[in-house]
């Protein structure tokens, strides 16, 4: 048995490996290579050394987009996880209609980001116009709040499902034992449930953190970076550098931005994983 497996491993591994190389490794190498080039089409390139990277850090819109994205990520990660966990707690109590609520909360996640962006743009602009406030495209603060609302609405349901799964796996005997020992419900929550659902928390924070950092669709549809690129997030900034600018030099700069962006996302997610994982316990 063992022998047959070791004999046939290429049949199982190679197709996936090939797909991984074609879809991931090869484009990645090309991407890094192109970030050192000046080009219009990728078959005609000229080497420019680190010029593109120097231009990236001189570009104020990129640094602004970085801080905007960072602020957005912090706010939305906290809000989404707190609300998702709270709703999960409520919906694991066995109240009537639990399944209905779970479905309803999950549904927004099934709608595409672009569509949601446009729908929320109409909704929020309607509210802002009635309040006599500047519309989304006119004030980046409203744009920011709008993005947070949109992301919360979309993501809370999804994270809630993961938290529910985590909470359901907390053994009842532990909770009963704690109750007999006289633990308050607050103590049960923080001393027993939270430590035991830490794996779910790791996954959810990872997902919300990276999703928020890489947010693109919702950003394009809701604010489009208006006003004057002030509500532009990193992914959109890269996109508009690459496609919105004319002139051969911009393609390479966009590419360099994408590489920098990749490194940022990798570093942030690794730090986060290490941090939340260290809090995990086994029951």
């Amino acid at each position: 048995m063992q022998k047959t497996i070791s004999k046939y491993w290429p049949v199982f591994v190679l197709p996936t490996l090939l797909a991984f190389i074609i879809g991931f490794i090869w484009p990645f190498i090309w991407g890094v290579y192109l970030s050192f080039q000046r080009f219009t089409t990728v078959s005609k390139t000229t080497f420019v050394g680190l010029d593109n990277y120097i231009r990236v850090f001189q570009d104020e819109t990129f640094t602004h987009a970085f801080w905007f994205t960072a602020a957005f990520t912090v706010v939305s990660t906290i809000l989404i996880n707190v609300f998702a966990f709270a709703i999960a707690l409520v919906l694991t109590r066995g109240i009537r209609g639990t399944n209905l609520f779970r479905t309803v909360y999950f549904m927004p996640n099934l709608i595409g980001g672009i569509l949601l962006g446009y729908i929320w743009q109409i909704l929020l602009n309607g509210v802002l116009a009635n309040l006599g406030k500047p519309l989304l495209a006119l004030d980046e603060h409203y744009g920011f709040i709008g993005l947070v609302i949109l992301m919360c609405w979309q993501q809370i349901g999804y994270m809630m499902i993961i938290y529910i799964a985590g909470l359901q796996s907390v053994p009842n005997d532990l909770i009963e034992a704690a109750k007999i020992d006289g633990a308050t419900s607050r103590e049960i929550l923080f001393k027993i449930k939270v430590p035991l659902v830490m794996p779910s928390i790791t996954i959810c924070t990872f997902l919300t953190l990276t999703n928020s950092f890489k947010l693109f669709d919702q950003n394009v549809a809701l604010t489009g970076g208006e006003p004057s690129n002030l509500s532009e997030m990193l992914a959109l900034n890269i996109y508009s550098t690459f496609y919105g600018r004319s002139g051969a030099q911009w393609k390479g700069i966009g590419q360099a931005k994408a590489v920098v962006f990749f490194l940022i996302v990798v570093v942030i997610s690794l730090v986060q994983l290490r941090f939340t994982r260290s809090k995990e316990v086994q029951s």
Partner: protein, 446 residues
């Protein structure tokens, strides 16, 4: 205890997905969808002696069908295979970028003017010796790079203030009464004041600043102050604009947003379709747009449509005509084989000189083409444009093709939107116009 979710595997999967997402963001040669592909291979088996073929990447989705038919007709009569692919709306640059990578790259493509040409000039065949160039009615319709002619305009378009004749007459005005900014403003203010009596919502359609409509102001309207400045200074492009006529720009923009169907604060979310529907439903008298908008507004009836020059209050503007120019320039790919280049040159020459070609361009596509054998199109807005020229009015050039970058236009659009809504000042607009011009020019050419 057993964990509900195998975290490690899950994270690995999530990691791969997220990393792939990042790469998608850097995607340099990602596929872009072409709206439609059509190939007329009827004659490919009997390809002409030269053996060349034509691949045209078309920019205008509205004319896709007409191009497919014309290509089929050409193949039928000459045996040269012609493929026409139309890029999806707003996807031309990305489609072109990926198509140019292919071994069967487009032999014929287009740029939108000098700024677009900057991207592609290394790929443009010099058309100065071509028969097509010889057919041009005016040298000003060719883009030049030194002595070389990398691109030639193939369609001429005109814009101005389109108006509803019936409503203007009902208000007691005629085209002859309006020949300057002062008279335009007087008429618009009067119409706006009597809007309830006239049964309309405003003199001008909403100046929507959504991206579907803001180009009418950040690009087309902004052309006028640039045109007059170039004219005063005797130049045709500049690394740094002075903004001599920005007060005039303010005047006309103020007029658009005050004598309008809606409150200026909601303009940020108004779209191009909003303006069209207001105009077609007779809720507004004036609508700034061009000949290409004819199909949207033809329900009003050809006799009911008129066009006024965009007056901005400059001395001598009584003789100003409509804004006429092009942002569609043909380029022939110099990386194609000799035979393909020759076949392409023959094809475009045939399009603009043969009876069949000119008829298709005029009747099916509704184009005014700047070539000697052109046939007059049926679009009434073009006829109006011709009348202005016949009356001896000076057409306004399309100087907006010299705007330093798309980014410049976007920043100007943002500033105008903020100004209209009252969250920004006119000084911001001036700075977006003047200071940012120099900055963007440096970035684009530095």
């Amino acid at each position: 205890m057993k964990k509900m979710i195998s975290r490690r595997n899950f994270l690995k999967a999530a990691g791969a997905v997220s990393a792939a997402g990042v790469l998608a963001a850097c995607g340099s040669s990602s596929n872009s969808t072409a709206a439609s592909t059509g190939s007329s291979t009827a004659g490919s088996t009997t390809a002409s002696a030269s053996g060349g073929k034509v691949y045209y990447l078309n920019f205008k989705p509205e004319q896709d069908e007409a191009w497919q038919n014309l290509a089929a007709a050409y193949t039928e009569s000459t045996g040269v295979p012609v493929t026409v692919v139309t890029a999806a709306a707003n996807q031309y640059e990305t489609t072109l970028m990926s198509e140019m990578e292919k071994s069967e790259a487009p032999t014929l493509f287009q740029v939108n003017g000098p700024v677009g040409l900057a991207n592609w000039k290394d790929y443009c065949y010099d058309l100065s010796g071509s028969a097509l160039y010889g057919e041009l009615t005016s040298d000003s319709f060719a883009l030049k790079d030194g002595d070389a002619v990398p691109a030639i305009a193939y369609v001429i378009e005109t814009y101005g203030i389109i108006y509803n004749k019936e409503l203007l007459t009902a208000a007691g005005y005629a085209q002859e009464d309006i020949n300057s900014f002062a008279t335009l403003k007087a008429a618009a203010d009067d119409i706006q004041a009597r809007k309830d009596e006239l049964g309309i919502q405003g003199a001008f359609t909403s100046a929507g600043m959504d991206s579907s409509s803001d180009w009418r102001f950040k690009t087309h309207l902004a052309n006028l102050p640039i045109y007059y400045e170039y004219k005063a200074d005797g130049i045709s492009s500049t690394p740094a604009i002075k903004g001599t006529y920005l007060d005039n720009y303010k005047q006309i923009f103020d007029l658009y947003i005050t004598d309008s169907t809606c409150d200026p604060t909601v303009l940020a979310s108004k779209t191009g379709n909003d303006a069209v529907s207001e105009f077609v439903n007779k809720q507004a008298v004036f609508y700034q747009n061009g000949t290409w908008a004819y199909t949207d507004i033809k329900d009003l009836g050809d006799d009911n449509l008129g066009m006024l020059p965009i007056y901005i209050g400059v001395d001598g503007e009584e003789n100003q005509g409509l804004c006429t120019g092009s942002e569609n320039y043909w380029c022939v790919n110099n990386n194609s084989s000799e035979e393909d280049i020759q076949a392409t040159l023959d094809f475009i020459y045939w399009c603009v000189s043969s009876e069949e070609g000119t008829a298709a361009m005029a009747d099916d596509m509704g184009f005014v083409i700047p070539f000697k054998k052109a046939k007059a199109p049926t679009n009434p807005l073009n006829a109006i444009a011709d009348e202005y020229v016949a009356e001896g009015k000076t057409p306004v050039d399309w100087c907006f093709s010299t705007m330093p970058s798309e980014e410049w236009k976007n920043m100007l659009g943002s500033a105008l939107t903020a100004y209209a809504a009252g969250t920004g000042t006119w000084d911001d607009v001036v700075s977006a116009f003047v200071d940012n011009w120099a900055t963007e020019y440096q970035l684009a050419n530095g």
